[in-house]
């Protein structure tokens, strides 16, 4: 065996944090390679020692203070690392994690920009596009997904009456007359291409009949 397993992988193997197939591959290697078996054994021993030590931590330990100190130390470490790291060209490069290989960085940058644009477009859609349009788009996507894209909604004007009001749909878009549900008394459809909704004013009793026409 002329190639040994990396120490990081052995550490993960010892703590049981590798995938199933990787675990099997390392296990096969460790059985034959005395050096790697020793290293893995050391990692296991370290883990046991750490568990034993943590069981004996003093009572009344100030976890908040410990956490703050650890955070501060991490920041110091990161800043020190930046001082010694090679300079990265361009401001945008700073947003790319150093762990990404150099040749993949343009792709990562493009992905980040695309994600940002997607979020902006989704926000604009959510704030600007009426819910009825979103529903129409959902219906169209649902029809395409389930393989029956030529539903009648796309064949011409569709007039719909329901307990929520009346609606006229055409070319995937829709127009709905939905007022205060408490005022809606009756909806009706005429086969000549119209629908009506009867609303009653709760104070005066005045009836208002709103109709939409397909043509």
């Amino acid at each position: 065996m002329n190639r040994h397993v990396k120490e990081t992988d052995l550490a993960l193997y010892a703590s049981g944090d590798v995938s199933l197939w990787q675990r099997a591959a390392i296990h096969l290697h460790v059985r034959r390679c005395e050096r790697c078996r020793e290293v893995a054994g050391e990692f296991r021993a370290d883990a046991r020692a750490l568990r034993d030590a943590s069981a004996g931590l003093p009572e009344g330990l100030d976890w908040a203070r410990l956490s703050a100190e650890m955070t501060a130390n991490i920041r110091v470490g990161l800043e020190a690392g930046e001082c010694v790291a090679p300079r990265v060209r361009g401001r945008l490069r700073k947003s790319v994690p150093a762990s990404i290989p150099e040749r993949w960085r343009p792709v990562a940058l493009a992905s980040a920009v695309a994600a940002m644009l997607t979020v902006m477009l989704a926000g604009a859609w959510w704030l600007n596009v009426p819910a009825q349009d979103t529903q129409a788009l959902n219906r169209a996507m649902h029809s395409i997904w389930h393989g029956h894209a030529a539903m009648s909604d796309e064949r011409g004007a569709v007039i719909e009456a329901s307990s929520e009001g009346i609606e006229l749909r055409k070319n995937g878009g829709s127009l709905g007359v939905t007022q205060d549900a408490a005022r809606l008394m009756t909806v009706s459809v005429s086969t000549q291409g119209s629908a009506s909704a009867h609303y009653v004013d709760q104070d005066t009793g005045q009836v208002t009949i709103t109709s939409v026409y397909a043509q």
């Binding site: 940002m116 902006m120 477009l121 926000g123 604009a124 704030l127 600007n128 596009v129 009426p130 349009d133 029956h148 030529a150 539903m151 009648s152 064949r155 011409g156 004007a157 569709v158 007039i159 719909e160 009456a161 329901s162 307990s163 006229l168 055409k170 878009g173 127009l175 709905g176 007359v177 007022q179 008394m185 009756t186 909806v187 009706s188 459809v189 005429s190 086969t191 000549q192 291409g193 629908a195 009867h198 609303y199 009653v200 004013d201 709760q202 104070d203 009793g205 005045q206 009836v207 208002t208 009949i209 709103t210 109709s211 939409v212 026409y213 397909a214 043509q215």
Partner: protein, 362 residues
């Protein structure tokens, strides 16, 4: 700094898109109603694709400038007449407006109009006014004369029915009937129904189903036979043979179409209006290339038709009597008339005494 740029870009992307909306109240010079005031502050126009969506919310105050009492008004509200979705109407039946009096009319209607150089525009026109002597004024482009006359005749029938009940059965009898009507409204089954013109794309096997008919003794027209094509939750192409059994010509007919599903629920699916021009004793056919689609769980089992109104050639009308509407099959599915809806709301708001006071006005 980067955050500020991001927020600025987002604000630009989602910036306000509401447009200034042009509006026009177009009443003829000799109109029996005049606009006293109008509030359009809630109306908005929003670009959507290649069109504007006009979300019209307006409150008009109209005055009766005629010498007669007004019973009904219908306004045509339109963005662009040739565009589907560009036309609507708002009607107020069951009015009793004396000459010189003002009354409110609320418009809540979304409309579509194409994007154009002139900007979004909504136009409100007077389609018709019905007076207490059943005379009519207006362009009648939306058949407002027929619709408002039928509503007014139904209003007279229902007021007379309740007044007679008050005289014969007293307050308790009237209250019992009102409560029964409120309960019927609450129990009346309803289902979503879509109406499309022409052939549907339903893939279920299609079958021809015969209509059953409710025969009303006083109806001038009798439906004799009829069929529709049924496929799953869809019914289309109603064909109904009719016969004029009266001694007068009938020029227009409206049929009610009741559907029963496989769970036994019955509901009024649609009305079938038709110009028939039927001479006395003659037969004719009402046929429409229309499809009705119900919710997916509604499988159409059977259908019933009935005549809901008819217009004679001389311009007079026939509507069913309260007795005919008391048919057990109709009672549960027919919606109350606009006047009955108004009276029920007065009862809910003001109680029995308020209702009795209202009935005494007529």
């Amino acid at each position: 700094m980067r955050n500020k740029i991001l927020i600025l870009a987002l604000a630009t992307a989602i910036g306000s898109t509401a447009q200034t909306l042009g509006r026009k109240l177009d009443f003829p010079a000799d109109s029996p109603v005049t606009a006293v005031s109008s509030d359009w502050s809630e109306t908005r126009a929003t670009p959507r694709g290649g069109a504007y969506v006009l979300d019209v919310h307006a409150v008009l105050s109209l005055r009766n400038s005629s010498q007669k009492r007004i019973r009904g008004v219908m306004l045509a509200v339109q963005a662009q007449e040739v565009t589907p979705g560009g036309k609507g109407s708002v009607s107020v039946p069951s009015l009793d407006v004396a000459p010189g009096e003002a009354f409110p009319l609320r418009i809540d209607l979304p409309l579509l109009c194409p994007l154009g150089a002139g900007g979004p525009m909504v136009e409100v026109k007077l389609d018709g006014v019905l007076f207490d002597d059943l005379t009519f004024y207006g362009s009648d482009r939306l058949n407002s004369r027929r619709r408002m006359t039928v509503w007014e005749l139904e209003a007279r029938r229902d007021r007379k029915y309740f007044k007679t009940l008050l005289e014969t059965a007293g307050n308790d009898g009237l209250q019992k009937e009102i409560l029964s009507s409120i309960a019927r409204q609450a129990d009346r089954p309803s289902t979503g129904v879509q109406m499309v013109r022409g052939r549907s794309t339903n893939t279920d096997p299609e079958r021809e189903v015969q209509f059953a008919f409710l025969h009303m003794p006083d109806s001038p027209v009798d439906p004799t036979t009829g069929t529709a094509r049924i496929a799953g939750n869809e019914a289309r192409m109603p064909h109904i043979n009719i016969q004029n059994r009266s001694e007068r010509g009938v020029k227009h007919l409206e049929l009610g179409w009741i559907v029963k599903d496989q769970q036994g629920r019955e509901f009024l699916a649609a009305s079938i209006p038709s110009d028939v021009n039927l001479a006395p004793g003659k037969s004719g056919l009402v046929a429409q290339d229309t499809a009705l689609r119900f919710s997916e769980r509604t499988q159409v089992d059977s259908m019933t038709g009935f005549v809901s109104s008819a217009e004679y050639s001389d311009g007079s009308y026939w509507i069913p009597t309260r007795g005919e509407l008391n048919d057990p099959k109709l009672r549960g599915v027919i919606a109350p008339s606009p006047e009955e809806q108004r009276l029920l709301q007065i009862y809910r708001k003001k109680g029995l005494n308020g209702l009795i006071e209202e009935l005494k006005k007529f």
